[in-house]
């Protein structure tokens, strides 16, 4: 201990304190502050970047999910539309078919009626002509004018009516 005290130099203590404090303040201003600020800033920015990346990744994932959902929805809608179109097409075709059938039926019916009418008319006419012919023939054959011609023709006509051409 005595040796330590005798070794103690006031001058060295003074200079050491002075120089150390000078070094401390100089380093604080020119080295420690910029270094620690930069290191802290860098760590913060790394943290931020990592967080941002994480956020971006999550966002991407969400976007992808929503994209998928949208796609599925669209696909479903398309399927739905297709299905609807298909049924509609079938309906239209069926309807058209039915309508056509009906129309055809109608045309047929009307044609048939027309034919019938024409036939009837023709028969009527034929009947009349036949009556006239037969009357004339009979007149010629008999050679005499039948009396009461109208009465005769009426009887022929009624006879003819009894004949059914069908």
């Amino acid at each position: 201990m005595e040796k330590l005290i005798s070794e103690f130099s006031v001058g060295l203590f003074f200079w050491q304190t002075l120089l150390f404090l000078t070094l401390l303040f100089l380093l604080r201003k020119y080295a420690w502050k910029p270094t620690l600020n930069a290191v802290n800033e860098r760590e913060r920015s790394i943290d931020d970047a990592l967080n941002q990346a994480e956020k971006a990744r999550n966002e991407m994932k969400n976007l992808k999910d929503s994209n998928n959902a949208l796609m599925n929805e669209a696909r479903e809608e398309r399927d739905q539309l297709m299905k609807e179109a298909r049924t509609m097409k079938n309906e239209i075709i069926n309807e058209a078919k039915n309508k056509a059938k009906e129309e055809a039926e109608k045309v047929l019916t009307s044609a048939r009626e027309e034919i019938q009418n024409e036939k009837n008319k023709a028969i009527e006419e034929l009947k009349n002509q036949v009556a006239d012919f037969s009357f004339e023939i009979a007149e010629k054959v008999i050679g005499q004018k039948l009396n009461d011609a109208d009465k005769q023709s009426d009887s022929v006509k009624s006879a003819l009516n009894e004949i059914n051409f069908n």
Partner: protein, 371 residues
């Protein structure tokens, strides 16, 4: 015979035998001159005693602070290769002159009509003849003026402070271009981060560590670099000086006490959580601890560095003391190994000093809500 044994002895044994052979040959080479020189050793006994004293003097001299920067001495011509340093004395005004005026303690130096003599690294005021007076115990009775000289240690501190400042300023300047360290800063930045993450934050806590960072970093870097400089052949021994470690320890002590909060004082004078009589017993012990802690810091650094220098110099001294090459080789190896250990000690002591300083700061900065 070699080829014969080659067949008979399995490979691993052969390898071992080869090793033994090498060692034997080595021992013969080393020890042969020893046998030849055996007769000479006795004649040299007297010379080696003086050499031993010389080495002892060299070691003791190295541990002390001196007034010139001594590089080496040419024993043959007796010339010292050194450069002088300024002497600053407070003796009825400031006396400034160069240490070369002492002529290595051989004559008195004159300054403003006063005469001074350098005796065992202390400066005394004398008459013009440079005569020293002694008392019965062989102590010098001349007046010793207050010595504020730029001694070898002060000079070393100035040089290393400039070096440290320039190095770490380049680190700080590097951040002007971006957030990444540039050049030498790439090596220095991890030191700063080491002090922050492994010394300051674990011991002081994230809340309070920032205001102590400048001191912790400076203390760490200063002690480490000064310790490393002590391992160069320049023979600098700054941290093995009690005044230097005292200056460092007293700063730690003062900062601890100044920044201490009521919680710290409460733990010293009125320890919470212990029974009443224990509070009274603990108070003086804790108060003593306040002073013992920095005292231990001072002694630890001083003793470790001094001891390292003494042992290393002794081993190197032994190299010259032994005439035999085997011993020289062994001491060379030992000195080399110790130098490597001293490199570790240089770092370790800087780390321990800074770590304990941070620990004391941590106890000073702690407040009740930290727990």
């Amino acid at each position: 015979m070699y080829s014969c044994t080659r067949i008979l002895i399995p490979y691993y044994l052969r390898k071992m035998r080869d090793k033994v052979c090498y060692i034997l040959i080595l021992m013969i080479i080393v020890l042969l001159p020893e046998f030849l020189q055996a007769s000479e050793v006795n004649e040299n006994a007297e010379a080696s005693v003086s050499l031993r004293d010389e080495i002892k003097q060299d070691i003791l001299h190295h541990l002390q602070d001196v007034h010139d920067f001594h590089l080496f001495t040419d024993e043959v011509s007796g010339t010292h290769i050194s450069f002088p340093l300024p002497i600053i004395l407070l003796d009825q005004g400031v006396q400034v002159f160069l240490s070369s005026a002492f002529h290595h303690g051989e004559s008195a130096a004159e300054s403003n009509g006063k005469y001074y003599v350098l005796h065992h690294n202390h400066i005394y005021r004398t008459d013009a003849d440079g005569k020293l007076n002694y008392d019965e115990d062989h102590h010098v009775t001349n007046i010793a003026p207050l010595d504020f000289s730029i001694t070898k240690n002060v000079f070393s501190v100035i040089l290393l402070s400039i070096l440290i400042f320039l190095m770490f300023k380049s680190l700080g300047d590097g951040y002007k271009k971006g957030l990444v360290a540039r050049g030498m800063g790439k090596f220095l930045e991890p030191l700063v981060i080491f002090v922050r993450d492994d010394i300051a934050i674990p011991n002081i806590g994230k809340q309070h560590y920032q205001k102590y960072m400048s001191y912790l970093l400076t203390v760490f870097v200063f002690i480490w670099f000064i310790n490393l400089a002590g391992l160069t052949p320049l023979g600098i021994n700054v941290t093995g000086n009690i005044a230097v470690t005292f200056a460092l320890a007293i700063m730690t002590f003062l900062i601890t006490q100044i920044t201490a909060k009521s919680y710290y004082w409460k733990h010293i004078f009125w320890m919470p959580g212990v029974p009443f009589p224990m509070k009274i017993i603990l108070a003086p012990i804790e108060l003593l601890g306040v002073f013992i802690k920095p005292f231990a810091l001072m002694i630890r650094l001083y003793a470790n560095i001094s001891a390292g220098h003494i042992v290393l110099m002794s081993l190197i001294g032994l190299l010259f003391l032994f005439e035999n090459w085997f011993a020289r080789g062994a001491f060379f190896g030992l000195a080399l190994a110790l130098s490597v250990i001293e490199l570790l000690v240089a770092f370790l002591q800087a780390y321990i000093f800074t770590m304990l300083t941070a620990l004391y700061f941590g106890s000073a900065a702690a407040s009740h809500d930290d727990h």
